[in-house]
């Protein structure tokens, strides 16, 4: 059970969170092409290494947060609340 340091609640078991994956910028719906939109829908980075992703603390503070996690070791080197600069490590 990996431990996610929630910037609000402190370290919590990952089972309290919902994984949202990489947060992608939503294209402008008025001008978007099919290729751009489907890229937004379906193409996400899938790196082996550090990744920046969104988690939702659904069984805790109910806030979304951004974490930097290593996809090989599951180490989390930082988390921050949305719109927050620094954050817990």
């Amino acid at each position: 059970m990996i431990l996610i340091p929630c910037p609000n609640c402190g370290p919590r078991n990952s089972s309290e969170f919902t994984y949202e994956g990489e947060n992608k910028e939503r294209p402008n719906a008025a001008t978007v092409t099919k290729a751009q939109w489907r890229n937004y829908l379906y193409l996400k980075n899938n790196p082996l290494g550090w990744t920046t992703e969104t988690w939702y603390h659904s069984s805790g503070c109910k806030k979304f947060l951004v974490a930097e996690r290593h996809t090989m070791t599951n180490e989390i080197r930082s988390t921050k609340a949305l719109g927050q600069q620094g954050g817990a490590s």
Partner: protein, 934 residues
């Protein structure tokens, strides 16, 4: 022989753990035996002179005690209804019924033993090379192979007694209660840490327990200090079974009163591995004969249970443990005829047998010695599992002939004792104490300053296999010959070798056999052990029962406030996600006709309900729904559909405008949690500047739909502060008022049934009261409660679709017949681009009403519409309508068929084709909505 008589219990031993005053009676293979309290199954059997305790898996060879500890592959028994019980660990209990597994008809005459004769043909992987043709015979061969399956039996009648799992949060967890573990625990606790000390055996002490008087004294003194320390919690007969990410550690407690085992989930700041060493077997011909035992097995049997494992012993040793075993044997009166010390050039060629048990040995000097006990002390294996599971890569220490922790140890994981090195008791204790302090430092302030004394293995002879071939993996019956053959065939990496021969795949999971497996492979490849490497260690360290892992089941169940009423009035439950709700009260068709002609009430509490407040609520509604919300007046409600960014419908519901900046949203029951997260996601990640606060009030209100032509009359008996007339309170409006004396109730003029209806949301505590009051006052109208099934029939008559039933994971907005609702002229909303493109292309199925041409035929839901062998659609909902007295359906069809009047062939599950006609509207009942608006 398994039936041998006579007791071989010797005189009192210093470290004895049996109680000579308390006899326990048990049976083994149907025969009665006596043992002492404190005995394990195996010590009691040995005390009774039983030498052959099991048969091996594949060749059904006779087997006796080998390692004498939990991991002994020869000592698995069926005990009562429990399979695979570790007989060298499990203590006797009065009346225990112990039997040998996987023999037929008996341990003595086991037919499977014929495989021994065939063993030259049954080499590893033989089945891959045979039974290939003719194909039709393989199933029969398979049945024969399945008879090889090892292990005990489980009965179909057993049940799961839930054990509570618990959580623990020590600063330091110490795995292993030998001298090093106790020392580490004491110093960590002295340094201020809360310590959890876990020992697999029944008492602390480790190898000291079968040691000399001095060693026993050290053990006793350490035990007393541990027991007296307020910061140490000790668990015995418990095992650290796994280490997972970030020191999430599983501990299994065994031998509990009611349940067999229970699981403790430990999040520890630091972990100290102090599991000691495991003695490894030696590979030579006859090494699995009953009578061939490891030195630690002998030490345990003699010094803990005062049992004589034989009469005439030969000891083959490469270390002091063999010498200690010889000493112990002499002490209990066993004739030790020869000690063959490999350190002085002694060698063992093979063990020989007579009538299936050990009868003598042949030594490298050519001599042959008769004996009934061969003690083997070839060396040690470090049980590095917990370190491997922590990401460490142990390295092979050539001189010490065993693996030791690698340099890449996680900084929250520590190792001490035999796992790390050898030394005097004082050195072990000093190392343990230093490591305990380090673990405490790391746990409390993060940085480690204590330096541990140097500690490494003493030189040991690399005794892995001798000059003859023998068994390497005792539980899988894999010999060194099998390994060499497989390596020669090309299965020449550890991983392929393992999978091809199954070596290390049995219950001991390599703890006894990995090193020898690797050593044999290395010799075949002409490589070193380090180069060859080991297979991957995986959890658990020892097998864990499903019962302990499952524990008590926490599966939340949700009830509406009216559940008790439903149950006492014949409501038949249906499981709807977490909710339990009445499907019907006996006769759904009758419920339908009562609603259509009079009035009925249904409990719709599970509907998702949210209060939305703030100045930007309309912005949110416009974003998440496909339709428009800016002009919804206070007091009005509107239907909306939500799609994902892929344009696929994911929820629908009604939202009402309560006051200036306050809205009340309802969602489907199953969609509630998802919609809440969806809204929060957009608010928090997309538009944090918007002023919207969402409160989930799903359970705060009991929701009741009062439906039927007489619903207004009924409700008006209970409401005085709201004008319920059609003029004052028209369709698609909401009011807030007092119902049956309960203030703060929301009333909505909407309904899923197609009748005049009021959906009321009552503060939940009063739900049952209001429901009962409605039933009471409705008696004059012949009111009926109705369940989910009646509602489904009525909604189908009315042509309302259900998200997830009439739509699926790819149904985009324009497929559901809600073209009128989707406002592509809105600037933007979730899923708009995809819906725009669907609109332009006209792609995707279309939801239509379908009437079977034969009104009596109700095509099963999921019946396919097939034309020229190609699937062109399917029935998504179907019922017999009591109102129309005919069958009615909704279905998804290709656009070409979605034209009113088209006749489509519907293939029933039994293959019959019936015809159905595509209708003008989804609704078969009151398409204009006159009833609703009445």
């Amino acid at each position: 022989m398994s039936g041998a008589q006579g007791s071989s219990r010797g005189a009192q031993r210093l470290g004895e753990v049996v109680d000579r005053n308390r006899t326990i009676t048990f049976t083994f293979n149907g025969k009665k035996y006596k043992g002492l309290e404190g005995d394990t199954i195996i010590s009691a059997l040995t005390a009774n002179g039983v030498k052959i305790v099991s048969r091996s898996w594949k060749y059904h060879r006779r087997r006796g005690v080998m390692s004498g500890n939990y991991h002994d592959p020869n000592c698995h028994f069926q005990v009562n209804d429990e399979p695979n019980v570790r007989g060298a660990h499990r203590r006797l209990e009065e009346g225990m019924v112990v039997s040998t597994q996987n023999v037929s008809p008996s341990l003595k005459f086991d037919i499977g033993a014929v495989n021994q004769k065939l063993s030259r043909f049954l080499t590893a992987g033989f089945y891959y090379k045979t039974f290939i043709k003719p194909e039709r015979l393989w199933p029969t061969y398979e049945k024969v192979l399945q008879r090889f399956a090892g292990g005990g039996k489980v009965a179909a009648t057993g049940h799961h007694v839930p054990a509570d799992k618990r959580y623990a949060h020590p600063d330091v967890l110490v795995a292993g209660g030998g001298p090093s573990g106790m020392s580490a625990a004491l110093s960590a606790a002295d340094a201020g840490s809360n310590v959890l000390l876990v020992e697999e055996e029944y008492e602390l002490g480790g190898f000291l327990r079968w040691g000399t008087a001095d060693e026993l004294a050290v053990a006793q003194s350490l035990r007393e200090k541990v027991a007296a320390h307020p910061k140490i919690t000790t668990l015995t007969n418990a095992v650290v079974a796994g280490r997972y990410d970030q020191n999430w550690v599983s501990v299994i407690e065994r031998g509990l009163p009611v349940v067999m085992e229970s699981l403790i989930k430990v999040r520890t700041a630091t972990l100290v591995a102090a599991p000691g060493l495991i003695e490894r077997p030696y590979v030579f011909e006859g090494n699995d004969l009953p009578g061939v035992m490891l030195s630690t097995a002998v030490l345990r049997l003699v010094n803990l249970y005062a049992v004589k494992p034989g009469e005439r012993a030969v000891v083959f040793t490469g270390n002091d443990s063999g010498i200690a075993a010889a000493e112990a044997l002499r002490g209990i009166g066993v004739d030790v005829v020869q000690v063959v010390d490999a350190r002085h050039g002694g060698g063992l060629v093979r063990a020989t047998s007579s009538r299936g048990v050990l009868s003598g040995v042949e030594l490298s000097d050519g001599s042959k010695v008769l004996c009934d006990l061969l003690v083997v002390a070839a060396g040690w294996t470090a049980p590095t599992t917990l370190l491997n599971l922590s990401g460490n890569h142990p390295v092979f220490d050539e001189a010490g002939a065993r693996f030791v922790p690698g340099p890449d140890l996680d900084d929250t994981v520590f190792a001490t004792g035999g796992l790390v090195g050898d030394g005097t008791i004082d050195e072990i204790l000093a190392h343990g104490a230093a490591v305990g302090r380090q673990a405490s430092e790391r746990a409390t302030n993060g940085s480690v300053t204590t330096v541990a004394p140097a500690f490494s293995p003493d030189p040991h002879l690399p005794l892995f296999f001798g000059t003859t071939k023998g068994i390497v993996d005792f539980s899988e019956d894999v010999s060194s010959k099998d390994l060499l053959t497989a390596a020669h065939e090309g299965y020449n990496s550890v991983e392929l070798l393992k999978r091809y021969t199954t070596a290390t795949m049995g219950p001991a999971q390599g703890k006894l056999e990995t090193i020898n497996t690797v050593a044999v492979l290395a010799s075949a490849n002409g490589e070193s052990i380090e180069e060859t490497g080991t297979t991957v260690w995986r959890p658990p360290y020892v097998p864990i029962t499903l019962g302990a892992l499952a524990g008590r089941s926490y599966e939340p169940v949700r009830y509406s406030p009216m559940q008790a009423w439903h149950e006492s009035h014949g409501g038949i439950n249906i499981v709807a996600g977490q909710w339990m709700r009445p499907e019907h009260y006996g006769d759904a068709a009758k419920e339908v006709s009562t609603v259509r002609s009079g009035v009925g009430i249904i409990d719709v509490t599970p509907l998702g309900k949210f209060e939305l407040k703030g100045t930007d609520v309309t912005k949110l509604l416009n974003l998440v729904y496909v339709n428009k919300w800016s002009k919804l007046e206070v007091g009005a409600v509107r239907y909306g559909v939500m799609c994902g960014e892929d344009g696929v419908i994911f929820d629908d519901g009604v939202t009402g405008h309560l006051s200036e900046d306050r809205y009340f949203m309802s969602t489907t029951s199953s969609g509630a949690a998802g919609v809440y997260a969806h809204l929060e996601s957009w608010l928090q990640t997309g538009f944090p500047e918007w002023d919207v606060t969402i409160t989930n009030v799903t359970s705060a209100y009991a929701s009741i739909n009062i439906a039927g032509p007489q619903s207004r009359e009924l409700l008006s008996k209970l409401v005085s502060d709201v004008d319920l007339s059609n003029e004052a309170f028209p369709y698609m409006n909401l009011r807030t008022g007092t119902i049956a004396g309960v203030p703060g109730c929301h009333m909505w003029r909407i309904g899923f049934t197609g009748e005049l209806s009021f959906e009321i949301h009552v503060p939940a505590g009063f739900g049952a009261y209001v429901w009962e009051t409605l039933m009471e006052h409705g008696a004059d109208f012949g009111i009926t409660p109705f369940g989910l099934e009646a509602q489904r029939i009525m909604r189908l008559e009315k042509g309302h679709f259900i998200v997830g039933q009439d739509t699926d994971g790819v149904t985009q907005g324009f497929s559901a017949g809600i073209d009128w609702l989707i406002k592509l002229d809105k600037d933007d909303f979730i899923g708009k681009p995809e819906l725009q493109w669907q609109h332009d292309s006209g792609a995707g199925f279309r939801l239509v009403g379908i009437h079977p041409n034969d009104p009596k035929q109700v095509p099963t839901e999921a019946s396919q519409i097939v034309i020229d062998g190609i699937i062109q659609g399917r029935i998504t909902s179907s019922r017999f309508s009591p109102t129309l007295n005919r069958s009615i359906c909704l279905g998804l069809v290709v656009p070409a068929l979605a034209v009113a009047g088209t006749v489509v062939p519907i293939r029933l599950p039994n293959g019959t084709i019936i015809q159905g006609t595509v209708m003008e509207h989804h609704a078969s009942y009151d398409h204009e909505g006159a009833k609703l608006r009445g």
